[in-house]
């Protein structure tokens, strides 16, 4: 304890020194102190986002051409290729039948983030807590919302959806506990309200900006109080009070960052009223809301289920009236195969637009994407085979991108989740069959 706070104080003292530097810097001919001055801006919060595509993406893992040229379905990601890492060889063993017979869609979705083989019994619901929620339990108290769990289709929390599996399995990625889905929200307006209205105090229904202003004045007040008190305290007491003052400083920085984030978030379009009627609009609205939530540091953990696993929706805006699930069972039929891949490519395109949005949202010198690990993928490889290995997985943002890595076959996807949660500062001893984070260096 002592050592930790001592370290923190040392760091802060360093920060205070550099904070005083800008005028000095201005007096120097060519800003030689620029680098140090830059260190004074507070470290950006570290976040993780999981985006899940149902029904698989392609027959074979999507690969880049020589020189990491992103082509085909991956082409929309080309402008961002330096922050994209293609990961091959991952498997989610918990999604396999293990004697339970059919129901790969339900199993894939339920196992994707939990790493637990879901129970198949009379529509019972028993799987495990998911990586994002376990991380949110640890780091969620640092933000207003512990996590943001959204999907572009509503949830069925009961009933059977896939060969005897409870519907919850195929409509929920995030699980607070083994039988408790985290409560996915599919209505963008509700998400918007949660982000921008104060739920704590319904009597006021004040906006984020109003609350921030009020918090500022209280912060000024308690800072003054602490300062006056400090002068009258002995050494040991002062050290304790310093923890409190560190807290004030940390919150001030957070408020500043949130203000910057909020100004940018405000510039983003609010979700259209009729978003739910138009699927592409709906997907874009949810992506925007996740971006807003991250930029305002309202949460650091988000999951997005693009459609329930096994979804059979058509994509009329692509000229595809047939259902997605139906097409995924292409049986190598050229027409079905083309249509199915077209849907996959469209999802990659929408995802690329989301990444671009995150690069445009600035935090000091860097972008929101720079401190966010974003996973895009599925726990089904080829929709026709329902394979749960060689999964289509890509990671973007806070990762050494511009390359692809090939892990040994059957490397657990759960290890990637452990790496992502560790990045946010959470420490999960294990997830499903994995206890060692994937080395992404």
């Amino acid at each position: 304890m002592t050592r930790r706070s001592l370290d923190r104080r040392t760091v802060l003292r360093g920060a205070a020194v550099t904070l005083a530097l800008p005028w000095l810097e201005a007096m120097l001919p060519n800003g030689r102190l620029g680098v140090r001055a830059q260190q004074a801006s507070p470290p950006a919060p570290r976040r993780a986002v999981w985006v899940y595509v149902p029904n698989g993406l392609a027959q074979q893992p999507l690969k880049a051409a020589a020189g990491f040229q992103l082509q085909g379905a991956l082409a929309p990601l080309a402008p961002l290729s330096s922050s994209v890492l293609l990961i091959h060889g991952l498997a989610q063993d918990a999604a396999r039948a293990h004697g339970d017979g059919p129901g790969d869609h339900a199993r894939a979705c339920a196992a994707f983030l939990t790493g637990v083989h879901p129970l198949k019994k009379d529509g019972a619901v028993l799987v495990g807590a998911s990586a994002d929620q376990l991380a949110a339990q640890q780091i969620g108290n640092r933000t207003r919302l512990r996590s943001l769990v959204v999907g572009a289709e509503g949830s069925n929390t009961s009933g059977q959806c896939d060969s005897g599996y409870a519907c919850a399995y195929s409509s929920q990625l995030s699980w607070a506990g083994p039988s408790t889905p985290a409560g996915k929200e599919h209505r963008p307006m509700r998400v918007y309200e949660r982000l921008f209205l104060d739920e704590e105090d319904p009597a006021f229904l004040e906006t984020m900006a109003e609350r921030r202003a009020r918090r500022r004045s209280v912060l000024d007040f308690v800072r003054g109080e602490a300062r006056r008190l400090e002068q009258r305290l002995g050494q040991a007491d002062r050290q304790k009070l310093e923890e409190y003052q560190d807290g004030i400083r940390e919150l001030e920085r957070r408020l500043e960052r949130m203000q910057q984030g909020e100004q940018q978030a405000r510039a983003l379009p609010a979700p259209p009223k009729d978003a739910e009627k138009n699927y592409p609009e709906l997907v874009r609205a949810h992506y925007d809301l996740i971006a807003m939530a991250l930029a305002t540091d309202s949460t650091r953990i988000a999951t997005f289920l693009l459609a329930n696993e096994g979804s059979n929706r058509g994509y009329p805006h692509l000229g595809i009236p047939e259902g997605h699930h139906e097409l995924s069972h292409h049986g190598k039929d050229p027409h079905k195969l083309t249509q199915w891949e077209k849907i996959g490519a469209w999802h990659v395109d929408a995802f690329a637009a989301f990444l671009k949005r995150l690069t445009e949202l600035r935090e000091g010198e860097s972008s929101v994407l720079d401190s966010t690990m974003v996973l895009f993928g599925s726990a089904i490889g080829d929709g026709n085979r329902h394979n749960h290995d060689q999964l289509p997985i890509l990671l973007a943002g806070a990762v050494r991108g511009g390359r692809e890595v090939e892990f040994a076959q059957e490397t657990s996807l759960n290890r990637l989740h452990l790496a992502m949660t560790a990045y946010t500062g959470a420490s999960l001893p294990r997830l499903g069959d994995a206890d060692l984070p994937l080395d992404l260096a």
């Binding site: 304890m1 706070s5 923190r8 009379d122 529509g123 019972a124 619901v125 108290n141 640092r142 509503g154 949830s155 069925n156 929390t157 009961s158 009933g159 059977q160 409870a166 519907c167 919850a168 607070a176 506990g177 408790t180 409560g183 739920e199 704590e200 105090d201 319904p202 009597a203 009020r214 918090r215 004045s217 209280v218 912060l219 007040f221 308690v222 003054g224 109080e225 602490a226 008190l229 009258r232 305290l233 002995g234 050494q235 040991a236 007491d237 050290q239 304790k240 009070l241 923890e243 409190y244 560190d246 807290g247 004030i248 400083r249 940390e250 919150l251 957070r254």
Partner: protein, 739 residues
């Protein structure tokens, strides 16, 4: 309840401390080599093992050097070990009492001072909750809101351990806002409200007509907007498609936390309202209704017996059921509040919240948070939110006057003493009477301090000692880590807490904690102990049958918390006795020692007593386990949950045991008698209470002074109020070392 005059057997605290100091001065060789008498003492009892290159435990005496070659920290360690009776080891013979006394005094002198520095104490979560409750009558769930408090020295209120991380700070701000919003209500807090959410406005299940249906296990969610925190009654109108042997089982939860469950035989034609109650905080809150026992047998010959489903028509909430009534402070703050009296009313409130006087500039700063465009009630609320986040509320501040000489002991002022006293007894802030005694300075007088303590002990709030201090001292909060039925766990804790409460309130001798021939049990404990059911519901006071289940050593709580999940652990039980009852904790096991194996080399299961004996045959284990095991073996007649037994897997159990000083006993009853008779229990309790009250560990000088003081009290007749009186009158409780 307490005599008005100080107990004649209780010399004033200052005198004892002076006596110790003067003795110490005689023995203080001004940092020089020890005098002949002291040298001879060390030579006779320590040098055989602790000298030269082979010195054990790296403790190396050198009589040629000042302080016999040990620094202050080493002398502190020496004091602790000699005091605990560990050193010199018993195999070297018993230390003559006079030598022991001198050796301890020598160690106190050379251990020096300065480790008793107190640090700023943050309110623990428990104290925060109590304080808000006593200020405004508001139940604020601080345990849910704040990160867990670090435990120091076994207690949750130790200044050094109670840290505050950067992320926690915002939680204080939020807590202040929430408490202020609940405390300073703009509208009438009493008006309860009804809200009903119909099936079509819910999520989950399948909506058919006006009903939501769960055709397999799952849940339906309804969202409510809660404007006033408090208890709410929840009604859900539901029915089942009944099939199979059981009725439809349901559960209701809020945000995943279950608050009611049951079964219903209701049908489409005969719907039923099921109910539950829970506490809701303000904001948007969800209520989930779950179907728990889906049943599906498609081949049943009777088509009506094939499929069980659950249907929900609406969920309604009503509340708050306990409309928050204004506490006296709220009433005073809010009655006739206007522009003209805002400042004076705010000052009165701030005096309470900050537990001491406030200045005019404090008022200026609080009022500057808002401006005249705001209504007085809003200004009051904003100011309160800020006060609750300010260091004067979050911490218990004791500032030294400028005139005080650094390093000296200064007496606390009235307000500081009042705060120490109220958090000791109530775990909460001083009330008006106590603040008054603090303000007029009368609290600094012994007789007023004693009278206030007596008054506070009569107050219901003093049960905090039985609930929090007692359970922490007895290490029973760890029972939460044991896999137990929640109800049984509650009963176990209640039994022990109630015994402490009884000894406290009825001013019974402290030794009854170990020897009580009565206890407090309910039907769960009666079943566990194999006793007759108590008359009446809940915990009942009963006389214990003949046998040796007496006092806390016979409580299921203690016997369970000191056991492993599948078997008893005499070692853990011995450790518990040493730490809790004798205040002589064993040092941690050296690195690299193995764990107890349950079988000998041949693989045969040995009786526990023989397993442990095998274990003690290793010298590196024996040094501590010779003290630990015989204590724990004496408790073997109780199994891992405190049930009486006369045999275990290893055969018949023999309850023979021994205290660390060698006194033998047979069974728990004799053990308790021994521990209670010589005041060891009272001394341990005194040291633990002292640590609890000061929020820090004691220096060896303070411990020695406390022992002196305890020696002057009649251990057989000493009561908890008597002990508390000795503590609040003691020097450390009423002084602070100036920094």
């Amino acid at each position: 309840m307490l005599p008005g005059n100080p107990d004649p057997a209780t010399p004033p605290a200052g005198d004892i401390l002076k006596a110790v100091i003067s003795l110490a001065l005689l023995l203080l060789w001004s940092g020089d080599v020890l005098d002949a008498r002291a040298q001879s003492l060390v030579r006779r009892h320590c040098l055989e093992c602790h000298a030269g290159a082979q010195a054990k435990a790296e403790l190396r005496f050198d009589l040629e050097q000042p302080g016999a070659g040990l620094d202050a920290a080493a002398w502190r360690e020496a004091w602790t070990r000699v005091h605990a009776g560990e050193m010199p080891p018993r195999k070297h013979g018993v230390l003559p009492p006079d030598d022991r006394k001198l050796l301890l005094e020598l160690a106190v002198t050379l251990a020096g001072q300065g480790e008793e520095r107190s640090v700023l104490r943050r309110l623990s979560r428990r104290e925060y909750e109590n304080t808000v409750r006593d200020l405004f009558g508001i139940v604020f769930d601080a345990r849910e809101h704040f990160a867990p408090d670090e435990i120091g020295g076994g207690f949750d209120n130790q200044g050094a351990a109670l840290s505050l991380s950067e992320a926690d700070f915002e939680r204080y701000l939020q807590a202040g806002e929430r408490v202020a919003a609940a405390a300073i209500q703009v509208r009438d807090p009493g008006a309860p409200n009804h809200q009903r959410v119909r099936a079509e406005a819910m999520d989950g299940g399948a909506l058919r007509h006006d009903v939501r249906t769960l055709s397999s296990n799952g849940q339906i969610r309804a969202s409510f907007r809660i404007e006033a925190e408090g208890r709410y009654r929840v009604r859900a109108r539901c029915f089942g498609t009944q099939a199979g042997p059981d009725p439809v089982r349901w559960a209701m939860s809020s945000g995943g936390r279950e608050f009611a469950r049951g079964a219903t035989r209701a049908t489409l034609k005969q719907r039923e309202e099921v109910m539950g109650e829970l506490t809701l905080t303000t904001g948007s809150r969800s209520i989930e209704f779950a179907f728990l026992n889906d049943y599906y047998k498609p081949d049943d010959p009777d088509p009506r017996q094939r499929d069980r489903n659950c249907h929900l028509e609406w969920i309604e909430i009503e509340g708050p059921l306990d409309p928050p009534r204004y506490s006296p402070y709220q009433s005073a703050a809010l009655a006739d509040l206007g522009e003209s009296n805002l400042r004076s009313k705010l000052a009165a409130l701030a005096t309470r919240v900050w537990r001491g006087p406030v200045s005019s500039s404090d008022m200026d700063a609080l009022l500057a948070l808002t401006n005249a465009a705001h209504r007085p009630v809003e200004r009051m609320r904003s100011a309160l939110a800020a006060m609750l986040a300010a260091p004067r509320f979050v911490f218990r501040v004791e500032t030294d006057p400028e005139s005080a000489a650094p390093g000296s002991l200064r007496r606390l002022n009235g307000h500081e003493l009042a705060v120490r006293l109220s958090y000791l007894v109530w775990g909460s802030l001083p009330d008006d009477v106590l603040l008054q005694r603090a303000a007029d300075g009368s609290l600094l007088k012994d007789e007023v301090l004693e009278a206030e303590l007596a008054r506070m002990l009569r107050d219901p709030r003093a049960s905090e000692l039985s609930r929090s201090f007692a359970l922490q001292w007895l290490q029973l909060e760890a029972l939460g880590n044991h896999a137990l039925d929640a109800g049984l766990r509650e009963s176990m804790l209640a039994e022990t807490s109630l015994l402490f409460e009884c000894v406290l309130r009825e001013e019974r001798p402290i030794r009854e904690l170990l020897c009580a021939e009565y206890s407090f049990i309910d039907e769960r404990l009666a079943a566990l102990y194999g006793m007759a059911l108590p008359r009446g519901p809940g915990m009942q006071r009963v006389a214990l049958p003949a046998g040796d289940r007496r006092g806390v050593l016979g409580h299921a709580s203690v016997l369970t918390v000191t056991s492993n999940p599948t078997r008893t652990s005499p070692v853990k039980r011995g450790k518990w006795v040493l730490e809790v009852l004798l205040d002589a904790p064993p040092p941690p096991p050296p690195p690299g020692v193995g764990v107890l194996t349950e079988a000998d080399a041949t693989g045969a299961q040995l009786p526990m007593r023989e397993q442990l004996a095998l274990h003690r045959s290793k010298p590196e284990c024996a040094v501590c386990h010779d003290r630990l095991d015989p204590l724990g073996l004496g408790l073997e007649n109780y199994d891992r949950m405190g049930r009486t037994r006369s045999a275990d897997e290893g055969g018949l159990i023999d309850g023979a045991g021994a205290l660390p000083d060698g006194r033998a006993f047979h069974g728990v009853g004799e053990m308790a008698q021994l521990l209670a008779s010589d005041g060891a229990l009272a001394r341990s309790l005194a040291r633990h209470l002292m640590t609890w009250s000061l929020g820090r560990s004691l220096s060896v000088a303070e411990r020695a002074a406390l022992e002196q003081r305890m020696a002057a009290l009649d251990a057989q007749q000493l009561t908890l109020p008597g002990l508390l009186r000795a503590i609040v009158l003691s020097e450390p409780f009423r002084t602070k070392r100036v920094e």
